[in-house]
C-alpha cells in the first residue's frame, strides 16, 4: 500500500492536499490499523494527494490531557505543532475523533491552526465534489445502527456526516434509543481506555452494546477506533460475534466499493 510521508513529499518539493493524521490507535492497534488501511484505499480511489507524518507523528496528548496531565499534553502539542508548522500543513484529516477534537479545538491556542476534518466529513466532501461515489448495491438492505462517538457528536456536534455516508450505502439505518446528543459513551473516553473501570455493576461498553443490540443490527457502524474496540468487546461479551459485526464507516465504504 502506498502511503507517502511528508518527509518524502518535501524531498520532492511537493505539498500534498491533505495530511492524514493516523493517531496512535490507527498506527499500532491491530483492529484500528484496518481502519487506517480502509481509509487510505478510499483516498487512493478518489485520487486524493495525501501524506502522513509516519515516524514523525506523535501522540496528540488527548489521553494525557483528559487524565489530568496538562504538562504532558502541552509538551506533546508543542512538539507536534512544531512539526506540522515546519511542513506548512494547512489541512488535516483523521479517523480518530479524539485527535480531531484536540487538533481542531485545543491546538490553535498553542499556535497550531489547521482546517481539521473527521474522515466522515472529508469523505462527504469528496462525494459532493464528485471525486468519489459509493456503491449502494453491495450492502443493500443490511440493518445498520450507528454509535455516535462522544468526541465527534456532543463534543463537536458532528451528527450528520456519518449518517449521510451510511445512508449512501443503501443500508437500512436504525437509530438506538440513545442517539446523537443523547448517545451513551462507549466507555473509553477520558483516558478510561487505558485503565480498569472503577467498581460498578456493569461495564459501560456492555450497556452500550445492549443499546445497539436492541435495534437488531447486522452491522454496528462506528467512527472512532476506541468506540470500535469497545463495541467489538461488547459483542464478544454478549456472544453475538456470529450475528453482528462492528465496522468503521471507512471500512464499510471500502467494502461497498470493493476496494
Amino acid at each position: 500500500m502506498i502511503v507517502p510521508t511528508m518527509a518524502e513529499m518535501m524531498a520532492q518539493g511537493k505539498q500534498p492536499e491533505v495530511l492524514f493524521w493516523v493517531g496512535a490507535a490507527g498506527s499500532y492497534d491491530d483492529r484500528a490499523k484496518k481502519i487506517s488501511r480502509a481509509f487510505v484505499k478510499i483516498l487512493h480511489a478518489a485520487n486524493v494527494d495525501f501524506a502522513v507524518l509516519g515516524t514523525e507523528e506523535s501522540s496528540t496528548g488527548d489521553a494525557a490531557k483528559r487524565a489530568g496531565n496538562e504538562f504532558l499534553f502541552q509538551m506533546q502539542a508543542m512538539m507536534n505543532i512544531e512539526v506540522l508548522n515546519g511542513y506548512e500543513v494547512k489541512k488535516i484529516v483523521t479517523c480518530d475523533p479524539h485527535s480531531f477534537n484536540t487538533l481542531k479545538n485545543e491546538y490553535p491556542e498553542l499556535g497550531g491552526k489547521y482546517q481539521v476534518y473527521h474522515h466522515t466529513q472529508f469523505i462527504q466532501n469528496l462525494i459532493s465534489e464528485g471525486r468519489l461515489k459509493i456503491d449502494e448495491t453491495t450492502l443493500q438492505g443490511k440493518r445498520v445502527t450507528f454509535h455516535d462517538p462522544c468526541y465527534l457528536g456532543r463534543a463537536n456536534e458532528v451528527y450528520e456526516s456519518p449518517r449521510d455516508l451510511i445512508r449512501r450505502l443503501g443500508v437500512n439505518l436504525t437509530e438506538m434509543k440513545r442517539n446523537k446528543s443523547t448517545a451513551l459513551c462507549c466507555g473509553a473516553g477520558g483516558a478510561q481506555m487505558f485503565k480498569d473501570a472503577e467498581a460498578g455493576d456493569k461495564e459501560v461498553n456492555v450497556l452500550r452494546t445492549e443499546d445497539a443490540l436492541e435495534t437488531k443490527p447486522e452491522i454496528i457502524a462506528t467512527g472512532c477506533p476506541y468506540c470500535n474496540t469497545m463495541m467489538t468487546d461488547g459483542i464478544k461479551f454478549k456472544e453475538k460475534e456470529t450475528e453482528v459485526v462492528v465496522k468503521d464507516i471507512a471500512e464499510l465504504i471500502a467494502e461497498a466499493n470493493n476496494l
Binding site: M1, V3, T5, V22, A24, G26, S27, Y28, D29, K33, S36, G54, T55, E57, S58, S59, A63, A64, R66, A67, G68, N69, E70, F71, L72, Q74, M75, Q76, A77, M78, N101, N105, E106, L110, C150, Y151, R154, A155, N156, E157, S181, T182, L184, C185, G189, G190, A191, Q192, M193, F194, K195, D196, A197, E198, A199, G200, D201, K202, V204, L207
Partner: protein, 438 residues
C-alpha cells in the same frame, strides 16, 4: 391605629426584602471567591442563549412530562407576580384591589381569571411533582446524595407552592365584593360555596387572614431561596448567560502550564537563573483544583444554580453502570463546601481560617473523579447549562500534577506517551508499519 396594618405591612416588606438582599450579597461574595474567567465575549450569543434556555425553557422539554409540568409552574410563577404587585400596593396604601378600578372590570377580570386558572394548574402540577418525587420510584430522586435535606428541600418547596396557591384562591373566594362582581373568578366561584352561611364579618376575617398569610408566605419563600436548591429560579438567568460557548470537547489549556512548558522547551532558558533584582520570586501557581477557591467563579455560580434535578446523573454512563460518580453530587458538594467556606469567613471577621478540610477528599473522592469518561452527557443534559465536567477535570489535574496520584495504569500510559509518543509501549520507529501489513 387606622394605619397599623399599613405600617406592619411596610415593616414586613422591608425586613423580608432586606434580609434577602443581605443573603444575595453573601452569595455574590462567595461566588467571587472563585478565580477570574472572562465570559463577556460574544454578548449577542449569550443573550440569545439566556432567552432561549432560561426564559424559553428549551432544554426542559427534552423530557416532555416533567418539562411540561415545569413550564406550568414557571409561567404561573412569572404571571402571578403581577398579582403580587397589586397586593404590595394595597398593603402599603391600605387600598383594596387597586387594579380593579384602575384597569376596569373586564380587563381586571380577565387578568385575575387567568391567575386563578394558572393557580389551579400550578396546584395540580405541584401535586404531580410531589407524587413523582415521593411515590413514583423514579431512580434519580432516590440516589444516595438525595437523602435528608435535599429530599426535604424539594418537598418543602412543593408544600409551599400548594399552600400559596390555595391561599390565593381562598382569598378570592371569600372576597364578597369580588365574587359578586362575577368577573375573574372562574375557579374561586367553585370554592366560594364552601363558605356559604358564614357571616360577612367572618368572611372578611378569613379573606384578610388568607391575604396576610399569602403575602407573608411569599416573603418567607423569597428568603427560603438562599438556603434551597430553589435559587435556580434566579440564577438560571446569569448561569445560562455566562455558560461556555466553545465546543464541549474543547478543554482549556492551562496558561500557567504553557509558561512552564515554553520555558522547558526553550534552549536558551536557564532554569537556575536567579530572579533579577527588584523582581520578586513568584510563588508558582497551583495546578488544577483541590478546593472551591481554585475553581473559577462560573463553576461556583454553577454550583449555586444547580437545582439537583439529577438529569445529569441519570445520563452519566459511569452512574448508569453503578459507579460512584454522580455529576449532581459533584455540584452539590461544591456548593456545600463553598457555603462552609463562606460561613468560616463570616465567623472569622472576613478571612478564611484553615479548617483542615477541602473539597477534594473531604467532599469528592478520587474514585468519583476517575470514573468519568469525559463524554459530556451531563453537560448536554443540564437544563441550565451547568458544566460538572470542568470541575472533574480541574480536580483530576490537581491529583496528577500536584500529587502524582493518578491510577497506576494511567501513569504507565503517560510514561509511554512521554517515551514513545503513544499511549502503548511501541517503538516510534514502527509507527508506519500498518501501511505495509495485510
Amino acid at each position: 391605629m387606622q394605619y397599623l396594618p399599613n405600617i406592619l405591612f411596610a415593616i414586613a416588606l422591608i425586613a423580608g426584602i432586606g434580609f434577602f438582599a443581605m443573603n444575595i450579597r453573601k452569595l455574590t461574595r462567595n461566588i467571587k471567591l472563585g478565580k477570574d474567567i472572562n465570559r463577556t465575549d460574544n454578548k449577542s450569543e449569550r443573550w440569545k442563549n439566556m432567552i432561549k434556555i432560561a426564559l424559553g425553557q428549551s432544554k426542559m422539554v427534552r423530557r416532555p412530562f416533567s418539562g411540561f409540568l415545569h413550564i406550568i409552574v414557571y409561567v404561573g410563577f412569572i404571571i402571578i407576580n403581577i398579582e403580587v404587585l397589586e397586593i404590595i400596593i394595597d398593603g402599603i396604601f391600605g387600598t383594596h384591589r387597586i387594579f380593579q378600578g384602575f384597569l376596569g372590570d373586564s380587563f381586571y377580570g380577565f387578568l385575575i381569571g387567568t391567575f386563578e386558572v394558572l393557580a389551579a394548574l400550578v396546584f395540580i402540577a405541584v401535586i404531580l411533582f410531589w407524587t413523582r418525587r415521593n411515590v413514583a420510584n423514579i431512580k434519580r430522586f432516590l440516589s444516595r446524595e438525595m437523602k435528608g435535606w435535599p429530599k426535604n428541600d424539594g418537598n418543602f418547596i412543593l408544600y409551599f407552592e400548594m399552600v400559596l396557591m390555595s391561599l390565593f384562591l381562598v382569598m378570592n373566594a371569600t372576597d364578597l365584593a369580588f365574587q359578586q362582581a362575577g368577573v375573574g373568578n372562574p375557579i374561586s366561584q367553585f370554592i366560594a360555596p364552601l363558605f356559604d352561611g358564614f357571616s360577612p364579618e367572618t368572611l372578611h376575617t378569613i379573606e384578610r387572614t388568607a391575604w396576610w398569610i399569602h403575602i407573608l408566605g411569599i416573603l418567607v419563600f423569597l428568603n427560603y431561596l438562599y438556603y434551597s436548591k430553589h435559587l435556580h429560579i434566579l440564577l438560571a438567568f446569569p448561569n445560562t448567560f455566562f455558560a461556555n460557548l466553545k465546543p464541549k470537547g474543547q478543554f482549556n489549556n492551562l496558561a500557567s502550564v504553557t509558561n512552564e512548558v515554553k520555558l522547558m522547551m526553550d534552549p536558551d532558558a536557564d532554569p537556575y537563573a536567579t530572579p533579577e533584582t527588584g523582581e520578586e520570586e513568584v510563588v508558582p501557581e497551583k495546578f488544577g483544583a483541590s478546593e472551591v477557591t481554585d475553581l473559577n467563579w462560573v463553576q461556583l455560580l454553577n454550583a449555586y444554580t444547580c437545582t439537583e434535578c439529577g438529569r445529569c446523573t441519570s445520563s452519566c454512563p459511569a452512574n448508569l453502570t453503578g459507579k460512584k460518580l454522580s455529576p449532581r453530587k459533584i455540584m452539590m458538594d461544591t456548593r456545600d463546601r463553598l457555603e462552609e467556606v463562606g460561613r468560616n469567613i463570616d465567623a472569622n471577621g472576613g478571612t478564611f481560617k484553615d479548617d483542615g478540610k477541602q473539597l477534594l477528599n473531604d467532599y469528592i473522592s478520587p474514585e468519583e473523579l476517575w470514573a468519568c469518561t469525559s463524554c459530556n452527557a451531563c453537560v448536554e443534559e443540564c437544563p441550565v447549562n451547568i458544566d460538572p465536567l470542568s470541575i472533574i477535570m480541574d480536580m483530576r489535574r490537581y491529583l496528577v500534577m500536584e500529587e502524582s496520584a493518578a491510577p497506576q495504569e494511567l501513569n504507565m500510559m503517560m510514561t509511554n506517551i512521554e517515551n514513545n509518543g503513544a499511549p502503548w509501549q511501541y517503538n516510534q520507529q514502527d509507527r508506519l508499519n500498518w501501511a505495509n501489513e495485510e
